[in-house]
């Protein structure tokens, strides 16, 4: 019994040589997959490099929503407002005040988290649909604010954003060393991945500790949660603050990579995209949130590629006749959301689990 008690939480209690080996091989498989994914931008076209950056940055925001919706069960339609709050904080500190990334990146997260706490008085009292409507209202107020507050946001025309400067090097400048070259996009991708990794580990730690169980309790039964000892209002506040913090950090990176920000981009559609990411990935799954971010970000480019071979899809919005790429991309991920909800509520995470299980079974029957 003692060894069971001392086993770290989250690790299977079943010990023994068999599972331990499969644990090792699965860890090796993970490392191979991660390294392969990290290598993708090295061998891909500039368009795909850009998509990889956007996917990694969106994944950070999606992880925030994963904590809020997936773990704590609180629906938010206002996520893009917090992405914007982080973005403008970073612009203000980085571009206007000339402060370095070590300052503007964490501060963007903290300021956005603080703004997220503004939703809390409502979140503590409302749930489900009513809460969703309040977060929608927050989004609308924020959109209005970005338009109005042109000192920071540049008004409806938008404004230039802060660069990422690391040790005197602007990250978006290409690095050339002999025959090797690292494009700005590639460098930014690795920065985004590093931040994403920290964000993912933090989210995982959270789900494994006291707060994670409290979140799960309010997600499943928030009335009972209180009686069990969960400080319900405080837990909801924490979930909103963490989600907004993640969104803020993503926003800071996003505007920097875009090199500009316009108020129009922080709209309801963007919030819905983040929701689509976690739904397609599988609500409640951390890896799913990241996979969903990649999926939703990549779809427009995939459709563009398809448009080249399939007639009837126009690649420019103004060209008459046929469906535009944007419309088709939106339809596709809308369809993906519906398909996931109907056929596999556990999303990409659930599907990949099934595939892995099937492969294992096959491998065992061959052995």
């Amino acid at each position: 019994m003692a060894s069971v008690v001392n086993a770290p939480p989250g690790e299977g209690v079943v010990a023994g040589p068999g599972p331990a080996r499969s644990g090792w091989t699965s860890r090796a498989a993970h490392i191979i997959v991660i390294v392969a994914l990290l290598a993708v931008p090295l061998v891909s076209t500039p368009q795909w490099q850009a998509i990889a950056v956007f996917a990694a940055v969106s994944a950070i925001a999606a992880l925030g929503l994963h904590v809020l919706t997936g773990l704590a069960g609180q629906v938010s339609l206002g996520h893009s407002a917090f992405v914007a709050a982080g973005g403008y904080t970073a612009i203000w500190l980085g571009a206007d005040k000339g402060l370095p990334i070590w300052v503007w990146l964490p501060t963007a997260g903290l300021v956005s988290a603080a703004v997220g706490l503004l939703v809390v008085p409502f979140a503590a009292r409302l749930r489900g649909l009513y809460l969703a409507v309040v977060t929608l209202a927050v989004l609308f107020v924020a959109e209005y604010l970005w338009d109005l507050w042109d000192g920071v946001t540049g008004g409806s025309k938008g404004r230039a954003a802060q660069p990422v400067v690391l040790f005197g090097h602007d990250l978006l400048d290409d690095v050339i060393a002999g025959p090797f070259m690292l494009t700005g996009d590639q460098q930014f991708f690795y920065l985004a991945c590093a931040v994403l990794a920290v964000a993912a580990i933090a989210a995982r730690n959270l789900s494994r500790t006291r707060t994670g169980r409290g979140f799960a309790a309010i997600r499943d039964r928030d009335l009972t949660a209180g009686v069990v000892g969960v400080p319900v209002a405080r837990m909801k506040s924490a979930a909103f603050a963490v989600a907004a913090g993640y969104a803020g950090i993503a926003g800071a990176l996003l505007v920097s990579y875009q090199t500009y920000a316009i108020p129009d981009q922080w709209d309801l559609m963007l919030s819905v995209e983040y929701l689509a990411m976690i739904i397609i990935g599988g609500v409640g799954s951390l890896r799913g949130a990241i996979a969903g971010a990649v999926f939703v970000t990549a779809i427009p480019q995939v459709v563009t590629l398809i448009a080249k071979v399939v007639p009837g899809i126009s690649t420019t919005p103004s060209a008459g006749g046929g469906v535009s790429v944007d419309v088709l991309a939106n339809c596709l991920y809308g369809l993906a959301v519906v398909a996931v909800l109907v056929f596999e509520p556990r999303g990409v995470a659930g599907i990949s689990e099934r595939v892995v299980a099937a492969v294992r079974r096959k491998g065992r029957s061959h052995a």
Binding site: M1, V4, V5, N6, A7, P8, P9, G12, V13, A202, A203, N205, L206, R208, T209, R210, T211, G212, R213, G214, A216, A217, D220, R221, L223, T224, G226, V227, V228, G229, V230, P231, V232, A238, A241, V242
Partner: protein, 262 residues
């Protein structure tokens, strides 16, 4: 009877838009006793627990836990003070594993907050290990250790009741409120539940307040019994006194409810 009073209810009155579910109920629960509450369906027994655990706020009266007023306090605060409870209709978290459910019950004893939990798991590890040890210890009371990784929703009702009690015990309460803990249980399950309750009372020294329809169980294990009817306290006394009380008989026969349901 010089034992200290652990729970003291004075003139507790609870209304639901015209329906009076508790009508000036006053009673004392003493340290270390098993205190039974009986009465026909709709008598207000569960409402009484809901008032004590902070789910309902009675319009009138006072509820004291070790001389501290807790009427209207938040449920999680009341839990942290050491009042644990189970529910008449099992309130389990079906997607959680048995172990996680019991660990959840320990939340009021844990201290690692959001930031510390996120930034470095090492900070939480010690607390998690302690909680894990406590959870395993509690699960062993029912021999549930082997089910620790099973989802609660997949378990039969009787086992879910056991898990719920484990969840309450994980918080190391000093008072345990059990709302019909053996309802719907098989004979064997009733026995293991009763022995766990007695174990908690005798070995862990918990004060137990027990709502139960199974009169065999109530008469067997309770030190004192209170009878509720239409939200009013009809009688309080030892099992022998209650068994001989004509008012109690009238309450049951008058309401036409069965005294020994399960």
């Amino acid at each position: 009877m010089t034992a200290t009073t652990v729970l003291e209810l004075a003139d507790v009155t609870l209304n639901f838009s015209g329906v009076r579910s508790l009508d000036g109920v006053s009673l004392d629960v003493r340290e270390g006793e098993v205190f039974g509450i009986i009465g026909p369906n709709g008598a207000g027994k569960s409402s009484l627990f809901n008032c004590v655990s902070g789910v309902y706020r009675p319009q009138q009266g006072s509820i004291r836990h070790r001389c501290r007023e807790i009427r209207g306090a938040r449920p999680d605060r009341i839990n942290a003070l050491g009042i644990g409870r189970t529910f008449q209709n099992v309130e389990s978290f079906p997607t959680m594993t048995v172990l996680d459910s019991v660990l959840l019950g320990r939340i009021s004893k844990q201290r690692v907050g959001v930031l510390r939990g996120m930034l470095w798991y090492g900070w939480a590890a010690r607390e998690e290990r302690e909680s894990r040890a406590k959870a395993e210890e509690v699960l062993e009371m029912f021999g549930l250790g082997a089910l620790r990784d099973t989802r609660v929703g997949e378990l039969p009702g009787g086992t879910q009741r056991q898990v719920e009690l484990c969840r309450a015990l994980a918080a190391e309460p000093d008072v345990l409120l059990l709302d019909e803990p053996v309802a719907g249980m098989t004979h064997d399950e009733v026995e293991s539940m009763v022995s766990a309750i007695l174990d908690a009372n005798e070995r862990l020294g918990l004060t137990v307040v027990l709502i139960e329809h199974n009169m065999g169980v109530v008469m067997d294990i309770c030190d004192r019994i209170a009878v509720l009817d239409f939200g009013r306290l009809v009688a309080v006394g030892t099992p022998a006194e209650i068994g001989a009380n004509p008012d109690v008989l009238a309450a049951y026969l008058g309401s036409g409810a069965q005294a020994d349901g399960a």
